[in-house]
């Protein structure tokens, strides 16, 4: 068991005369037994970060330590880590048993029968005992995935590294494996770093998630914190489907003035904003309510498109009924599936002040977030 510490880790590549910064000054620490999910859009540097932890890429600057031991210059095989790859990377000419034994044979002096015993045990744990004598090419995608996992587990490493391990599975299997992986990690209690581009995996699996963009670390926090208290506009927009609504607004006195509406704010919210006047107002679609009565935070809108999802509807609203729907600022709301609205209806949308987020338009930094407590209350409702 081990802690993992990244301190100002930086990676630059040389491309001709240009220097490309793939990972820029990333610092985070992962606790013993923690499941950390690293998430971000493609090309954000998440895989590079993982590969630096694995020792497959050299670290340009910064220090990496496992259990307070600096491992920057330690070869991969001496870091006591195991990695599960996106392609599973099984050895095609070896049986499942040989695949799983390989690491133990290469990295330990264990006698053969001991290795055999460990492989059989791990196989049982993963429910692949009956596959041990088959070749990878005879296995289904899901089975290969399990073998890849088994190969990592059997080595009993200090740290598990997983690089999008579920992305080659179909949707149903992926959901199953998500649960199974979480259970396994819980049982084994091995420190795990898990890279994915899939926000569902990030939200559901991790003890904490680390969000990367453009090689820079945006936020490390629990999934709910990241969702409800995003550090900046990128995190707010990256998590959640449909994505958070954003409106450019300007602070005038105690009012936020946008293209389509004016929105008065309370004094305590105003106090969070400091000197910033060019702001972005953010509101999650599920926080928007359709109501009957008018008021300061209620706006007359026209329904543009309704996407029924079964349990809920995603409704695209716009503020100005005469405007070209292509250009008018739109508001997306998720409402109950039984709430019947249809295209062209005029409805009143409420943007509750308790649920708004305000970002500095220049830096993207969050100035005001809804409180976690409010959010929790709302879930209870």
């Amino acid at each position: 068991m081990a802690t993992l510490e990244l301190d100002s880790i930086t990676k630059t590549f040389q491309d001709g005369d240009e220097e490309i910064v793939a990972v820029d000054d990333v610092s985070m620490s992962i606790d013993d037994g923690e499941f950390l999910v690293v998430v971000g859009p493609s090309g954000c540097g998440k895989s590079t970060t993982l590969r630096m932890v694995a020792g497959l890429e050299t670290i340009t600057a910064g220090t990496l330590s496992i259990d307070d031991r600096v491992v920057n210059d330690v070869k991969s095989q001496d870091r006591d880590i195991a990695m599960v790859f996106q392609s599973y990377a099984l050895y095609p000419h070896m049986s499942v048993r040989q695949n799983m034994s390989f690491g133990l044979e290469e990295s330990t002096d264990l006698p053969d029968d001991e290795i055999n015993r460990m492989v059989s045990e791990t196989g049982e744990m993963l429910g692949i005992s009956n596959l041990l004598d088959r070749k990878p090419s005879d296995l289904s995608g899901g089975q290969q995935q399990r073998v890849a996992l088994g190969r990592a587990i059997v080595r009993d490493p200090e740290v598990f590294l997983m690089d999008e391990p579920l992305s080659n599975l179909d949707a149903k299997l992926r959901a199953e494996m998500r649960t199974e992986l979480q259970r396994l990690q819980n049982d084994l209690g091995v420190t795990t770093v898990y890279v994915t581009h899939d926000q569902t995996e990030a939200m559901t699996m991790g003890d904490r998630i680390a969000i990367l963009d453009g090689g820079e670390l945006q936020q490390v926090a629990t999934p709910l914190e990241c969702y409800h208290e995003p550090a900046n506009q990128f995190v707010a927009s990256f998590l959640g489907e449909p994505s958070m609504n954003f409106f450019d607004v300007t602070l005038e006195g105690n009012r936020l003035v946008g293209d389509a509406f004016e929105y008065p704010i309370r004094e305590d919210v105003r106090a969070d904003l400091g000197d910033a006047t060019d702001l972005v107002l953010g509101i999650r679609p599920e926080a928007v309510e359709l109501v009957d009565k008018a008021g300061d935070h209620e706006f007359e809108t026209t329904v543009d498109v309704v996407e029924p999802m079964g349990d809920e509807n995603t409704v695209y609203l716009h503020f100005d009924p005469d405007a070209d729907p292509e250009n008018a600022s739109a508001l997306v709301a998720t409402i109950d599936g039984f709430n019947r609205v249809s295209e062209g209806d005029t409805v009143t949308a409420r943007i509750p002040e308790d649920a708004i987020h305000l970002f500095d338009r220049r830096t993207g930094e969050a100035l005001h977030n809804r409180s976690m407590k409010d959010a929790a209350d709302q879930v209870d409702l």
Partner: protein, 348 residues
């Protein structure tokens, strides 16, 4: 150089072995790390530092991987580049006859001026160029046509391909026998064929003006199958949609190939052309076997045959070396740009 490497390796190997045992003994302290133990021997420390310095400069696996590629690379480098440089040196001496070794104390370009004055050399150089250009171009055209025909979804594709490539598997020595028989004046096939058109008979190998072209034709026979295979691989790499899109756009079959398909075969053409030119320069075996000796038919002397004849028949070692250097320069003129091209495409 080899010695240096051996010594380096011998000193590094035990030290890396020690590293491994250290890792196991105290649960993962590695001496490469910044917190390295004080070295027991200064010598070992120096080599370890050299190793890590080399690794840092060349990449993490450089030292460990060098055992795989460096010895073969050195052996090959010695035989290829070492020999070429040595050859250059010899070409600057006056080495000839039964002297045991060249005299390296007196170097000059006499052999090269002698070559320029030698009409035999100039003829051979001209013949080499003609052979290279005609043979390469002709073989490429025939190979391309065959590849296009075979790629049209025909039956027995494999059989046809096998037949077309068959001559390529034969030795120059063997094919030379076949063509000697075909070009034979009295009852060779070449004369029977043109005889049916009321022409000939022609002395294919005896007529100075014809012999080179007869040989080029024979070489094309042997290597057009090779060009076909390369083009076929190129054609197969073009997505089917390109043919279909061109058809939908209303292009005729001829237009489709000319404007859509052939331009995409540039890479295949370049690599096939380079290989063919090299084969052309090696046509020595064919010419030697045609006559069973160093003196090819009149009018068909090329640099490759002239070089071997000067050196091994006339024992003009230095002169032969000078001709070899000219041949090498010609090859370099073809290969150099090709390698740069491949490097630019990241295809090495």
């Amino acid at each position: 150089m080899l010695d240096f490497y051996r010594r380096l390796y011998r000193t590094i190997r035990p030290s890396s072995g020690d590293d491994e045992s250290e890792v196991r003994a105290d649960g993962g302290v590695v001496s490469d790390g910044p917190a390295a133990d004080p070295p027991t021997e200064p010598d070992r420390d120096a080599t370890a530092r050299l190793k890590s310095a080399l690794d840092r400069r060349f990449g993490s696996d450089f030292m460990e991987s060098s055992i795989f590629w460096l010895p073969p690379f050195l052996l090959m480098g010695l035989f290829v580049y070492g020999a070429v440089i040595w050859n250059l040196l010899i070409s600057l001496t006056d080495y000839q006859r039964f002297e045991n070794a060249p005299d390296y104390s007196d170097l000059d370009f006499e052999m090269y001026t002698r070559a320029l004055a030698d009409s035999g050399f100039v003829d051979a150089a001209v013949n080499t160029l003609i052979l290279l250009v005609l043979f390469t171009a002709g073989t490429l055209v025939v190979g391309l046509l065959l590849a296009i025909l075979i790629d049209r979804g025909i039956r027995f594709e494999n059989s046809f391909r096998t037949v077309y490539l068959l001559p390529m598997s034969l030795s120059f020595v063997v094919t030379a026998q076949f063509w000697l028989w075909i070009y034979n004046y009295n009852n060779g096939i070449a004369n029977s064929v043109i005889g049916t058109f009321g022409l000939g008979p022609v002395s294919w190998l005896g007529n100075q003006d014809i012999v080179l072209y007869a040989i080029i034709f024979a070489l094309m026979w042997q290597f057009s199958g090779y060009a076909m295979v390369v083009y076929l691989a190129g054609l197969r790499a073009i997505p089917r949609e390109h043919y279909e899109a061109a058809k939908v756009d209303g292009a005729s079959t001829l237009k489709m190939y000319w404007r859509v398909i052939i331009p995409q075969l540039k890479g295949a053409t370049i690599s096939a052309a380079v290989v063919l030119m090299v084969f052309g320069m090696k046509a020595f075996d064919f010419l030697y076997s045609l006559v069973g000796g160093y003196r090819p038919p009149n009018g068909a002397d090329i640099l490759a045959t002239k070089m071997v004849r000067e050196a091994y028949a006339n024992l003009n070692w230095a002169y032969g070396s000078a001709i070899a250097i000219v041949l090498f320069a010609m090859a370099l003129g073809v290969i150099g740009p090709y390698l740069v091209y491949e490097y630019r495409r990241d295809n090495l």
